[in-house]
Symmetry: C2
Subunit: 345 residues, 2 copies
């Protein structure tokens, strides 16, 4: 069993531990956010963590109406910008806590007057040393190069922070139910291992979602790119129709993440358009309507609030990437030329 | 001659006209920005215009230290977020002024207390009607589906706004020289028409840059995707090394945009890594050091301030996309299934 698959299975436990043990740390951060009247958030992250940042952007804006910017670390690290950051929270996300440019971004932001906080899986890392507050993933050491359990644990911390900051009962209750929901979704492991066979020789694909699950599309595409070396490109459904849809010809593979919720009708509209172009659609959804349009429907067996759906819907995407790599004769634990910690200045 | 190529050639004139005729409109907006003590900017845009927004994010942050967020329009249009936007500028960018979700985002932002402004090529459009200030591209009607001259004219307005807002003499002087610099770069038209031959059967590629030219990588990738139907994926060099570099095997095509400036050393570092992996590199640069590492060096014949380099470096990328489409037997003016105006709710 690949380590990646083992770690996919550890996610319910990692999320449960994170929620239980970080409640107080999140509460302390929320007090500071209120006291300092924080009205803007900037998030610095790279790779998988940047997809957790994308989720945070949607969730904070939707639930709290607080504008969120994703930091361009090079603005701080290469261009030495002197930013005005009073009233801002600068949140760094890094599994290892070592991403050099994220650390430097937080350090500069703190000097520019921002409150700083981080989400990481490693206590006492360079990132925690420049953060006023640390929220810790309790995922255990992540050994596979392709991050899985630290991604969903980071998402859980993002949701916990939004839930406490806005006193959002739906999010806080929904989070408690998530570990069991993810356990149900893991039942897709075996069928997915069969279904990937058809895609053994795939070389390129589009991964599509809208709204909150934009994070899911980005992360699912990255997992396939990292472990199966195919050019998987994520798009917001809205941006996709603005140009890239031109690539879709007979049989072009498209992966759609379409949980129930506000974004769902747009995804049905997209699926109908892709069907007209005779695309090969793999659809992750709960509603039969859109599943019926797919060449390979992947029925998610449980209901989940759209606000929390990115924590659940990425799981079959992780399974898909892991099994696809194996079907292609690759070792998902040893992607070509990748290391676990990436240090970019 | 394809309309797209005609319009590529119209860019020096479009930029000159835009700079000349919009000076006063930009000055009026700058007065309002100062009077209302605007300290945050959010930009709403789709497709090519979103790449102009990416340029604006880097430029405003680097030059003025003002944090810039790229809006997720669905936050407003699907999720009805109630945003707190006092002290914010919400800037909409849309060639046609008709992008439904951008219009709705500006309208919601205005109701939430933001100052609103837009950059568009069409006066009296739905977008101008929800904008307190309009900055107009004087590019003439754009007939090709793949946007070129409205993109660089939008970039010119972004730079003019940054230059006036920050009283940045370098930017304002540099802008005046740009039309002539672009004319020089258009001399690459004929050689590029030859060089694309080698890439007639390309199906996928990575387009790479860092910092300010992230916008250039995104836009160059989109042009190739739209007109040549290949999966061209843009990455920041820093994100690329965090995972996607795994796709690079012998002969994998990588396009690098590496003008002189702060981001240049990172791009050399990247080129060395790609060379180790035996990638096929096409490099757009001025410095011989990085050009020497390329399979196909594309030497940019003029010097330009890095702050303005995205206006210049995209031009050979546009030429490349247009000629590549023709080499592949496609009509760059009629991308499969695209329309000029995309209406997404």
């Amino acid at each position: 069993m690949p380590i990646m698959l083992e770690e996919i299975y550890e996610q319910p436990q990692a999320i449960a531990a994170t929620l239980e043990q970080e409640h107080a740390a999140v509460a302390a951060l929320v007090s500071a956010l209120r006291e300092r009247e924080i009205r803007h958030v900037i998030i610095a992250a790279r790779g998988t963590s940047d997809h957790a940042a994308t989720y945070a952007k949607y969730l904070f804006e939707i639930v709290m109406g607080i504008p969120v910017a994703l930091a361009a670390p090079s603005v701080f690290t290469l261009y030495d910008a002197q930013m005005h950051l009073t009233g801002c929270l600068m949140l760094g996300i890094s599994q290892s806590g070592q991403a050099t440019d994220v650390v430097q971004t937080l350090s500069s932001a703190r000097a520019a007057g921002a409150l700083t906080a981080c989400i990481t899986n490693v206590p006492s890392s360079p990132l925690t040393s420049v953060s006023d507050f640390t929220l810790l993933c309790h995922a255990g050491e992540e050994r596979a190069v392709a991050a899985t359990k630290t991604y969903t644990a980071s998402l859980a911390l993002v949701a916990l922070l939004a839930g406490q900051w806005s006193n959002h009962a739906g999010i806080l209750q929904g989070l408690r139910a998530l570990p069991d929901l993810i356990r149900s979704v893991l039942s897709l492991d075996e069928p997915i291992a069969q279904w990937v066979e058809r895609y053994r020789y795939i070389t390129e694909c589009a991964v599509l979602a809208r709204g909150l699950n934009q994070a899911t599309a980005l992360e699912a595409a990255l997992k396939m790119t990292e472990t199966s070396y195919l050019v998987a490109k994520a798009y917001s459904m809205a941006d996709f129709l603005h140009g890239p849809v031109a690539i879709v010809r007979d049989g072009f593979p498209c992966f759609l993440y379409a949980p129930d919720g506000r974004a769902y009708p747009s995804m049905v509209e997209l699926a109908l358009k892709l069907r007209e172009r005779n695309a090969e659609m793999v659809v992750f959804a709960r509603s039969p309507e859109i599943l019926d349009l797919a060449r390979r429907p992947i029925a998610i067996p449980v209901e989940v609030d759209e606000l929390l759906s990115p924590l659940l819907y990425i799981v079959p995407g992780q399974l898909w990437a892991c099994h696809l790599a194996q079907a292609r004769g690759l070792n998902p634990d040893r992607p070509r030329g990748l290391t676990k910690v990436t240090l970019t200045r």
